[in-house]
Symmetry: C2
Subunit: 344 residues, 2 copies
C-alpha cells in the first residue's frame, strides 16, 4: 500500500510500504477513509534531522474495519471507526480513570513498527480499546467533523474541561489554529458566555466567532495582554486556554489570567520552564492541561456531531489526495491552509 | 502597648508602640489572647536588611473585641474572635468567590500602618469581613487549636482541597513543619486513606502519624523520590501537597506525582521558575495551590475543632510570653521548636 513518510525537515513523501496485517490477536486492520495533518506534525516538518529510511507519520484517521484479531470483540468488518491520536487498551487503571494517554499498554502511531495514519490503511494495536464505532456509512456527510474526534476536538475539549470552563467562567483562548478554534467550540459547548479569542488571522477568527467567540483580540504580546485586561475591567479571565505552545503564548496566558484563575495548555510546550513564582503564588494561579486523552472524550462529543449541534469539521479548509500530502504539509506550514484533510 | 518589631535578620525585639485606636468606622480593636510565630516569619528573620525604625510583625492571632467602629455589625465588646492572616472586606467579588487573599480592599498585617499580630492588641481594618466570632470564653482549653484557624490549618486545608484530595486519592505530603502536618490533618479530614509524609524529624513525623499519615519517608531528594515510588508500585501518588517552598521540595513533588496527578503548593516559593515542560505535559501534571484564603475556610473547619474531631493545636510545642518572643524566633529558626505560641 501507499503511505506518507517523513525523511527530514521539509521532506515529506508518499511511498510504498508493506500492507498491514494482523500481528496480535488484539489487532485490527482499518482502511483509511479520511486522515489529516496536525499542527504537531509541523514540528518534525520544521526540524526533523535527515532520516534516509523515512519514518511513518500521521495520527488522526477514521476508516473502515477490514479485519479483526481473535481477541477483538464489538468490532467487525465493515464498521466505520475513528481512532484517537494514541492507541490504548481501555482496561488498565489509567484508561479506567480516563487518562488513556498514560495507558500501560498503549503507544503512538508511526512508531515502533506501528503504522502512521496518513496512508491507505493502518494496523491498529489494542483495537478494542482504541477504536470507536461510528453509526454512519462510508459516504456520510459528517466524516470531516467525525474526523476531528481523533485529536483536535477532544484536545480543545480537554483544554476547556481541565481549565474548569462553565457558564460562570470567562474564557480567553490563545491561538487561532485548529486547536484554538476547537477550544472555542468546546468552551461554548460547556456553557461559557464570554469567550475572548486571541488571534490575528481574520479568516480564522471569523470561524472562531462562528464557533462561539464573543470578542477577538488581534494584538499580541504585551499589547494583547493590555487589550484583554481592558476588556475585563483590568482583571483578566477566569480561565485561559493556551493552544499554541510557544513561550510568548505562555507569557500572554500568565498576563491575562484572573487571580484565582486557571491556565490550561494543550499546545505542545516549546519551553523548558514556566515562570510560576511568588506573584503567581500570591494570585493562586493554577496551571493544568497536557496531552489530551482523546479516547476518554469521544463518546461524550460524538452525539453533538451526529445531531448537528456542533460542526467542528469546519476547521478543514482544504482536502488533498494521498499524492498531494507533501503539498498539504507545505500549505499548512506556510499558513496557507488552516487544517488539511486527506482522502486517500 | 507592647508589640514585636523586627529590625533585620536575626534581630527581633519587643518594644513600646502606640495603643491601637479606631481610625475608620470599619475598624475594630482586639486585645490579643494568643498569637504565634509562622514559618513564613522565618524568611525575614533569616534575610531582612537592617531596618533601624523596626517593622511590626505577626499575622496569626485570636483575641477579645475591645471596641468596634460604627459600621461594624455582628461583633461587640467581649466577643472572642480569630483573625485570618490577611484582612479582607468580605463583600467584594473575590471575597464572595472565596478568594479573600485577592480582596479588593484587603491587606496584610504589620504593613502600611496596620498593626502586627504579635503584640498586646491590634487595630483590625475591615473588622466585619475579617474577624470570625468564636463561641468560647477567654479561658477555653481550645484556644491553641482555634488559633490555628488564623493560618496553618486553613493553609493545610487549602493545599489538600486545591489538590483534589478525596477518599480515592493517594497523597504525599512534603514537609514536616506545622503546615505539612496540618496538610496531613486536612487530607485525612477530606477522607484520604493513604497519606505518605516526607519528613526527617521523628518527633514531628510522629505527630504526623497521629494526624493521619499512614507512612513516613525520611529520605530526601532522589532517594526520597525513589522510596515513594517503591511504596506506590512505581507510580507516585495522585496528589502531592508541597508544604516547604524550596526548589528541592518542588523537584521532589514532580518526582513523586502520579501521571494525571496534581501538585498543590502552599510553601512560599523560593524559586523563579517551575520545570513543567514536555515530560510533565505528556503526563498531564497540574500545579495548583497558592496563598490560602484562610477566611474562606474558617466556618467550615471550626466545628471540627469545637467538637474535638481534630486537634490542630498540637502543632504548638512551646508557649512564650511576649517578652520571650525573640527567643521563640530563635527556637523556631534552629528547629528546636516546631511552632511557638505567644501568650501576651
Amino acid at each position: 500500500m501507499r503511505a506518507t513518510l517523513i525523511y527530514g525537515a521539509g521532506d515529506v513523501r508518499v511511498g510504498e510500504v508493506p500492507d498491514p496485517v494482523l500481528r496480535q490477536p488484539t489487532d485490527a486492520v482499518v482502511r483509511v477513509l479520511r486522515a489529516c495533518i496536525c499542527g504537531s506534525d509541523l514540528w518534525p516538518y520544521g526540524a526533523k534531522p535527515v532520516t534516509p529510511a523515512g519514518d511513518r507519520i500521521g495520527h488522526e484517521f477514521l476508516g473502515v474495519v477490514e479485519e479483526v484479531g481473535s481477541e477483538v470483540s464489538g468490532l467487525r468488518r465493515g464498521d466505520v471507526v475513528v481512532a484517537p491520536f494514541l492507541w490504548s487498551d481501555g482496561t488498565c487503571d489509567f484508561c479506567r480513570e480516563g487518562l488513556h494517554t498514560s495507558c500501560r499498554h498503549g503507544g503512538s502511531w508511526g512508531r515502533d513498527g506501528v503504522d502512521g495514519g496518513q496512508g491507505e490503511a493502518v494496523r491498529v494495536p489494542q483495537a478494542q480499546g482504541t477504536l470507536v464505532k461510528l453509526p454512519v456509512g462510508e459516504d456520510s456527510a459528517l466524516l470531516a467533523s467525525l474526523l476531528t474526534l481523533s485529536d483536535v476536538l477532544p484536545t480543545g475539549h480537554h483544554c476547556a474541561k481541565t481549565a474548569g470552563v462553565n457558564p460562570r467562567t470567562t474564557v480567553t483562548v490563545i491561538g487561532d489554529g485548529a486547536v484554538g478554534l476547537s477550544a472555542v467550540l468546546a468552551a461554548k459547548r460547556l456553557g461559557a458566555e464570554r469567550i475572548i479569542l486571541m488571534g490575528r488571522h481574520k479568516d480564522r477568527t471569523d470561524l472562531g466567532r462562528e464557533f462561539g467567540a464573543t470578542e477577538v483580540v488581534a494584538e499580541r504580546g504585551a499589547e494583547g495582554v493590555e487589550r484583554v485586561r481592558e476588556l475585563t475591567g483590568g482583571d483578566g479571565t477566569h480561565t485561559v486556554l493556551e493552544c499554541v505552545g510557544l513561550e510568548q503564548a505562555l507569557h500572554t496566558a500568565l498576563g491575562v489570567v484572573r487571580s484565582g484563575g486557571t491556565i490550561s495548555r494543550v499546545g505542545v510546550p516549546q519551553y523548558p520552564t514556566v515562570p510560576l513564582a511568588f506573584p503567581e503564588f500570591l494570585r493562586n494561579i493554577t496551571l493544568t492541561g497536557g496531552v489530551a486523552p482523546a479516547r476518554a472524550y469521544i463518546e461524550e462529543l460524538l452525539p453533538d456531531i451526529l445531531d448537528g449541534t456542533i460542526t467542528p469539521g469546519l476547521v478543514f479548509d482544504r482536502t488533498v489526495a494521498l499524492d498531494e500530502v507533501p503539498d498539504g504539509y507545505r500549505a499548512m506550514a506556510e499558513r496557507e491552509a488552516l487544517k488539511v484533510m486527506i482522502e486517500p
